[in-house]
Symmetry: D2
Subunit: 336 residues, 4 copies
């Protein structure tokens, strides 16, 4: 039984606590939050867990094998570092940090201390994304040449970061998992109409190798909630709508072929292919539950984490470049 301590019981923390509590290999030993109201609420659901406001007592006065960090981004680095330094395995919310160097330092530290560092890119553990990965790996889609995602809602406005750090993070981690193609450059544009320097609506273009491309449209100021992702392959195409209660993933036997027999490429004949649509059955697990089991497996058996520090660093690099582009009216920013 691994003793796990959670820092942060705000918006996402309760979901972590519930999943940690339900995992048979974890004991939710402590929850730390600087709000006494939040701790009272936590106590109602987890009466046997130690509740702390003092972070030093959490780190020094509590027996813990694992620390989970679910605080605002700005404090991730400090807390994850302190957890690793004190010999604990670490689960940290996405994005790992907002600085490339900090992510690199955490990766190095985890390696040196021989501890697990898992970043909570939840979607990678969802039934829908894993099914799409399976389709790509089995070459059902053919060569995948675009990823196009719209992720919008009204709210959960952050006041310290632009929308890309909140919402595009999901898409970049999904993109990395599904299409591990080298990314070349990033451009981002966005609305700053609020006048407070925060961008609540942004559009990213990620240029990748092999003429592959990603378009990511994120917003906190949409009247309707949208989570629609299109993935174009030469054989088949996928429409993944996370708002659908069932049939989230639809695989279309559709495409465009060209008749290259003509000599003049500009007059080539376009052939549309339209066949059946199939919505494969998805695993019905809660993504966080699967992720928790995977994390436990990493800690106990040394399995490599699917969303480890390196994977998270890739996401940060893209976000940092996008942020730079966003601040210079969409100038293309090369990746290393």
């Amino acid at each position: 039984m691994l003793k796990i301590g959670l820092i942060g019981f705000g918006y996402w923390g309760p979901n972590l606590a519930r999943n940690f509590n339900q995992n048979p290999d974890l004991e939710l030993a402590a929850i730390c939050d600087n709000s006494s109201d939040r701790l009272t609420l936590a106590g109602k659901s987890f009466p046997e867990t130690k509740l702390l406001q003092d972070i030093d007592v959490f780190f020094n006065g509590t027996e813990l094998d694992v620390v989970a960090v679910a605080t605002p981004v700005a404090s991730h680095f400090y807390l994850a570092k302190r957890a690793l330094m004190s010999g604990r395995h670490v689960w940290v919310e996405k994005p790992i940090t907002d600085h490339v160097e900090q992510a690199e330092e955490l990766i190095g530290l985890a390696m040196k201390k021989n501890k697990v560092l898992l970043v909570d890119h939840t979607y990678v553990y969802s039934g829908a994304v894993r099914k799409i990965k399976e389709l790509i790996d089995k070459d059902e889609l053919g060569k995948v040449f675009y990823y196009d995602s719209t992720r919008m809602n009204l709210g959960l406005f952050h006041q310290d970061v632009n929308v890309i750090w909140d919402l595009a993070t999901h898409d970049i981690s999904i993109l990395d998992y599904l299409m591990p193609i080298k990314k070349v450059a990033v451009a981002a544009s966005g609305c700053f109409y609020l006048g407070n320097g925060i961008c609540p609506k942004s559009l990213l273009t990620i240029y990748m190798e092999s003429e592959t491309m990603a378009h990511i449209n994120v917003s906190w100021i949409s009247p309707v909630k949208m989570r629609q992702t299109l993935i174009g392959g030469t054989k088949k195409m996928v429409f993944y709508d996370d708002n659908e209660p069932s049939e989230k993933v639809k695989v279309y036997d559709k495409g465009i072929d060209f008749d290259f027999s003509k000599e003049d490429l500009y007059k080539l004949k376009v052939l549309y292919r339209v066949g059946d649509m199939r919505a494969p059955k998805l695993e019905n697990h809660e993504a966080l539950a699967l992720e928790t089991r995977h994390f436990v497996d990493c800690v106990l058996n040394g399995t490599k984490a699917l969303t480890d520090g390196e994977a998270a660093l890739e996401v940060v690099k893209v976000l940092v470049a996008a942020q730079k582009s966003l601040r210079s009216s969409g100038t293309l920013v090369k990746l290393e």
Copy 2:
């Protein structure tokens, strides 16, 4: 009774012919197409209309008050110019041309000859777009600060122009009609994976004055058909889904307010406002029928065309800038 002649009986031409034929003030006098198969088809539906393959006979040997041009973009300029030069009023398909100078020449010529020049930006005449215009004019939305549109399908692939000339044209004309705010610069990125120099999927950002912005996502290679437009105002927000058979326009009494009483702008309190949604009743006319009546009114009564040469020129300027940006990996292109 105005005698109208139509050049081009391809994809869109039959819709024009049907609407011209049903208008009580127009007589569909001639149809010209270089394909005899298309002319045979036209004859089946319009047995009393003169059918011609020879463009010279069309222009010189036929009594016509008005000429409608529904051919590929490359020939618009030549045909519209010839029609104006020969003293006819002109209806021309969108986009008017793909060169700014050509559009300017046509505008000058129409003025000199005192003829109507209407460009068929059909959506401007639809019940949905007109209702949104009415909402904006009555200040129901407050200050409008973004336009976000996704217009995708599989196909009707053009082989001579990029997707922006086909699909983004619709959005730019709608945007101009709804939000006549000065546009400052354009950036566009796109997929060129086909290897033939044609971009079938593109994403545009249009920077406008007053921190206003448009994001336009167009594609010929989507497995699903989408025509979704979001319009964000400070008072209300609109979701316009042209795929919906009814209730195409939904007006959300939703928004974000800020509590500016705090001194620190970065800590301002965000207030979400969520009220009713309303789908106003829309006029149930066919857009082309209304546009045809408007065109007749312009010709007979000298009314100014809503989508005249100047309006069409604005669209071309944006498309030309977008095309330039598209070819230079999304570099920002200023609009003079």
Copy 3:
């Protein structure tokens, strides 16, 4: 080239005229309607067709091989009989008549005169219904044990017949085509709140052999348009939504199995089976165009009509029984 004459150019007549006109083997020789306004409209689209107000001139003074009847139900019998008596093949709108004896007389007459009698149960010719038929014939659904349909809209209120004669007619003909199982009895209930003896909303239960059952819910007073049909098979189940622009037919690999190994049937174990969903590609023809070709084939080659008099009589028998039940508060009415 068969000369066809159409009687009735009201709501549905124009669709027939357009399809007859486009069929290469038919010449739309005459249209008869007692409204001169409707004839003027017809003339606009079919300038070469003879337009008549006088039914005697239509029957006696016009060279016709085929007569199509698209008038209110009450006149179907008289007009179809006159057409057969005068030696013409007959296309008649659904329902063939509202009296069993009249339908029987028309069937007998067509046989005696050796003429084709086709009743326009259009849905039977649609891509969606034909695909479902194919699935059933290939035993993909297993034993089919229920048909459940909801067909609602606002309007097209008839003033002479109850809603069942208008809308349930569609479902009964689809049901007969898909599931040719002997029907045993019918019950129908309905709203009569209007106070004029007309029922605008009704619900039918059709008891069939082998514990099979159909539930049909029809209404002219629904604020939303619905055309949803569920078909339950022991292997798979179908959801057919005719409002969907594409993917009208969805085949669910879902079902319930029982573990009959237990001795006590009342305690049997229920096993849910949930697999993929598949939306097969449908033929993209207009149903009426296919039906017109089939009708021509019947006339020219003696092919048996899919929706002939006998098929139409089956529908009438069910409707007559439903009508009787409707008027006696849902009493079960046996079908001989």
Copy 4:
């Protein structure tokens, strides 16, 4: 602080436990279930609650003010009676019992003992149903003349009762709440194809006074989940789709009017009225949380329960009549 004890921790029990636990006026003192597995699970979420397998210890050896019964229907009567006899207030799951006399006995007992008897007809406490009630009470819909509901899914098959006791219960309680019009008679038809005497798909017609009618279509064997209710009023109509994540209730300014100026009623002119659609903002509470607060209010302040024994008895009467009709092929069964 009221001490509440819960009997039954199966499908629905955990939701009750969670809501009771979160209510500030309730202490979840005991949970009783005859499965030790279920009790272990309960202990994980409610570590401070007493867990019991012995019902006698629950009733006699535990200090309880209130008892909640969430067991199969057959045991409701015995357990609710025992709770009332022992002086506790009672919360019992729907339907209260499956015998009219038993429901009457419980009502009498609660009155005699002066205890609260609340039956958990949850939907009556939902934001959607309460909003519709508000619209009816404010006469926005005019005279309401039909209720039409489709409630389907795959599964949660009961093995002791027909589907009407599970699903139609919801609709009858909603109907009673929204439209308290005297019910006259019931007819029900259903599938019995399983061969075990259980009907998994049924269709009810409820005849009410003033030409008002309800049609209720329920099924455990549908491949798709549906929860669609139409409510027709003379002024406006409602479409309530409980599957929608937001905008569950849509109010249509649609209807049919008649021009009664004509003398012949059968030739009256039908006028369609089509206006805006409005989706009013709904209260965003969990229905069970509101119901729990209401229950506490009844116990502490003597407020009359909205879904008390009498309301529940009305539902049972209709279900018993429907059951009788179902077993005699849909014969109309009068209500007292």
